[in-house]
Amino acid sequence: MADVPTKLLSGNEAVAAAARACGVHLGTGYPGTPSTEILENFALLEGPGTAQWCPNEKVALEVGLGAAFAGARVVVTMKHVGVNVAADPLFTAAHTGVVGGLVLVAADDPGMHSSQNEQDTRHFARAAGVPMFEPADSQEAYDYFDAAMRLSEQFQIPVLLRVTTRVCHSKSLVELNPLSAPAREIGFQRDPRTLVMIPAYAKSAHVRLREKLNRIASCAAACELATTADGDGELGIITSGVAYQHAREADPDASILKLGLTWPLPMETIRDFVDVVGRCVVIEEGDDILARDLRAAGLAVQNKPEPFEFGELTVPRVQAILAGEATDPPAPETTAKPKPPQLCPGCPHRTTFELLRDRGCIVAGDIGCYTLGTLPPFNAMDTCVCMGASIGVGLGLRRVLPAEQASKVVSVIGDSTFMHSGLTGLADMVYNGPAHLVLILDNATTAMTGLQEHPGTGRSLSHQPAGQVVLEDACRGLGVHNVHIVDPMTQRDQLAELIDRYLAEPAPAVIIARRTCLLAAGKIRQYEKASDDACQDTVPQA
């Protein structure tokens, strides 16, 4: 066999390389740490398929699903909380299945390095009834993507690839072997009994889904990726994902069953393993899911104590679990505190939070850099739940608080977050009231995740000119009559006056505090210059 190149790649780069090597036709997603670099790298690699940021994860999965209904190979990427947003199409897509191949890459963030919760996407595989693969390093991210795509095409079912921060953002060596090619021609075949989920058709679709999962559980593909490392047989460990790496290092003598396909479970392989080892411990990062399933199946496996369900696993933590410790090993002693994250010096959001702080506002906040407005010296954000929640939460607070407090409530949301999930909240403000003030902090980018484009920027994922949703037009179109645009840096006084006006005399209002993110400004000038130059080139010479 010819030599294949070996590269040092992050898990995200490896998924992108695999998607290219698999001939993926379309990549869709919404940026979210730690998943963002997958589509960005896919777009940088040569190949015929295209990648795009969608307004949110639900739309991304729906666009991907349409392409997969047409026979295409599709990758859809998002962080774990994005799967919640995409859950509606995901659950029913499990029923319809796909015609081509669809791999949904869901990136969990155990330890919450950059997330608002610590949910475990493995629950979704069980709840929606879709197969799941879990790679343990970049090589497996590459190989399992291909396995997931092939399984998706073979059984015509969407497949989850669950990665975690330490897979996405760790680099390790990858042999870039040739991967499979798309199995189907692109073209639409009418098949309403499969693709139209009216109750009459959905009933048989549900049965078909369960049959598919049973066949997948018993097929060879399930066992091919469940690898057993030889040990002394005394201690057996069942594990998956990056937890395998910690377990391997924690006890080099243990026998390890590492699961690649983690839903449906290759139960025969697992049973055979449990039978031949002495004590058997399940090492899983996140919730106590796998151990519970195995015990429900009557297998005598040991689960981890509850304290280990929080945060990331590490080699010392796995050693503690294997030693039967009930609690975490003591943290190394230091009195030094990490320097907390903060809004950049010169960040346009600073002005807005100073004004809200000085007015004692009750601030319903949202997800982005600006969530840091909750920290000193601003202390100007009082709630933050999920993408878009600022508007609904603000309206709810206004609805029930006594007048004196209600009049202090404002909602604060970023431009990308507004495009993601703010429009429907604003529709509720117009429809139900009460009169309320929404501040859209428009810095012309998705800053937190690394300056990605969104529908409001008018540029594509690859920073090329694209259609644009104009924020103020969208707000007015929804029926908000009081829409103001101010630059928080050069028009600080106007911004202050507007806030004061709407706090004093409530009316449904949106103030767009518009100033480009400092980190993005230089890049945006380059993109604009590049597109201007391209336009010049197309003008016929006189």
Binding site: L8, T33, P34, H113, S114, S115, D137, T165, R166, H169, S170, K171, S172, L173, V242, Q245, H246, R248, E249, E312, T314, V315, P316, A331, P332, E333, T334, T335, A336, K337, P338, K339, P340, P341, Q342, L343, C344, C369, T371, L372, M448, T449
Partner: protein
Amino acid sequence: MTSVINIVFAGLGGQGVLTASDICAEAAFRAGLDVKKSEIHGMSQRGGSVSSDVRIGPSVASPMVPAGQADYLVVLDETQVELNRPMLRAGGVLLSPAELPGGVEALPNRKCLNVAMLGALASHLDIDPAHWLDAVAAHLPQNLLEMNRQAFTQGHAAAK
């Protein structure tokens, strides 16, 4: 190299901590070693404390350096030394800008500090300097290479 060498890079957001760990991992890869590198970026690093782990050797499992097992702790900002010191094993080597003669001011540019500290680290590791310089070239823009080569050499000489 017969066993795994653990290196932790630490500093503040914007100092080039992650670039330093990328270059280090790349140099080890070019030297034919197994390597794993782990980093955290996103919300928690916006202007705050940053660290990144690099593990090199014949075969590496976990991508994360366990606390108290770092052979080398490379810190780009003195304020971050105490925070990260617990990562270092007994007898492990701490490298910080204090090791550089003339300090950061003697470098061609302050922004080269990360590469200067890589030079200091390189003097402790059995990896051909050519691999280090190739790795620097692979991760930094062409127009900055000369000053970074110089910084690497200064760091390398300082630690000897």
